[in-house]
């Protein structure tokens, strides 16, 4: 039967895929933002799985707040990306440290 460990392993695989996505897509900020969304999705699955198997609703309430913050952060991240693109004409962020100083 499907136990808690199954859901936790799925969540772990998603988390690792998100981290890998950030690692290998160095220049593409949009893929980095999507990898962050994958990480937050894995955390949500984790919270809801624990909430369901332990009979505690706090996990689902907290998962709602994670969802809220993820949506807000995606909006701000994309807004920053848009104005970066307006200024540079490209979204390669290797040379973003040129803004330093």
């Amino acid at each position: 039967m499907i136990g808690l460990a199954h859901y936790l392993v799925v969540s772990a695989i998603l988390f690792v895929l998100g981290v890998l996505g950030i690692f290998i897509n160095r220049k593409n900020v949009i893929i980095i933002l999507m990898a962050i969304e994958l990480i937050l999705l894995s955390v949500n699955i984790n919270l809801v799985a624990f909430s369901s198997f332990l009979g505690d609703l706090v996990g689902q309430v907290f998962s709602m707040f994670v969802l809220t913050v993820a949506a807000g952060e995606a909006a701000i991240g994309l807004a920053i990306l848009v104005i970066y693109f307006r200024a540079r004409g490209t979204i390669a962020v290797d040379d973003v440290n040129r803004m330093k100083g």
Partner: protein, 203 residues
């Protein structure tokens, strides 16, 4: 029985689409794979009898966040070839670290599952025979009302921030200037005259 089948189906598709998100060449394809991953994660949550969170995932994540990603990806003119340049060189190291992380997480889950930790009290026990959304409502608007208001405030700040960041004043817009219209004098106005041809105009 069908729950086992459904779990493996959703889990396989969510892992496959998550890998396609990070491996696809075209960012539009990545967003579409992300949408598929969200749908299957919502399916997993329905299996966990958390249908409110599942529907919230579809409405908020797919309906708002993924569509926002799609808008931005379609708006920006992205040069794909240059962005894939670092892919091959970073993949072995990234893959190694990811594999180590995955092994550690699975080992941690296994160790916990072998009976290490047992929670005695529940912060908010799930009530019996109450639908999921009603139970969450009873909890969210009474004990966690402060967090709920803070979440609304966070969304408001995010909205204001996004507008402030991307708003720019466009030049050459012909808007209405009411005081200028009020200052107009009759002798500056233009009149239509039905002028018979061949004769001069009185200005």
């Amino acid at each position: 029985m069908i729950q086992v089948f459904a779990f493996y189906l959703f889990a396989a598709i969510v892992v496959a689409s998550a890998s396609m998100v990070i491996l696809a060449r075209n960012p539009v394809h990545s967003v579409l794979w992300l949408i598929l991953a969200f749908f299957n994660a919502a399916g997993l949550m329905v299996l966990l009898s958390a249908e409110f969170i599942a529907m919230l995932l579809i409405i908020v994540y797919v309906g708002a966040v993924a569509v926002l990603f799609l808008f931005v990806v379609m708006m920006l003119d992205i040069d794909f070839a240059e962005l894939r340049a670092g892919f091959v060189s970073y993949f072995p190291l990234g893959g190694t670290i990811a594999l180590i992380l995955l092994v550690e997480l699975v080992l941690g889950v296994g160790a916990w599952n072998a009976g290490a930790l047992n929670l005695s009290t529940r912060a908010a026990p799930t009530p019996e025979h109450v639908p999921n959304i009603e139970a969450i409502g009873q909890l969210l608007y009474t004990r966690y009302i402060f967090l709920f208001e803070m979440a609304g405030l966070i969304l408001l700040v995010a909205m204001i921030g996004a507008i402030v960041l991307t708003h720019r004043a466009r030049g050459g817009v012909r808007s209405q200037d009411i005081s200028k219209q009020n200052r107009r004098r009759p002798q500056d106005a233009t009149r239509n005259i039905n002028q018979p041809s061949g004769q001069g105009v009185e200005l």
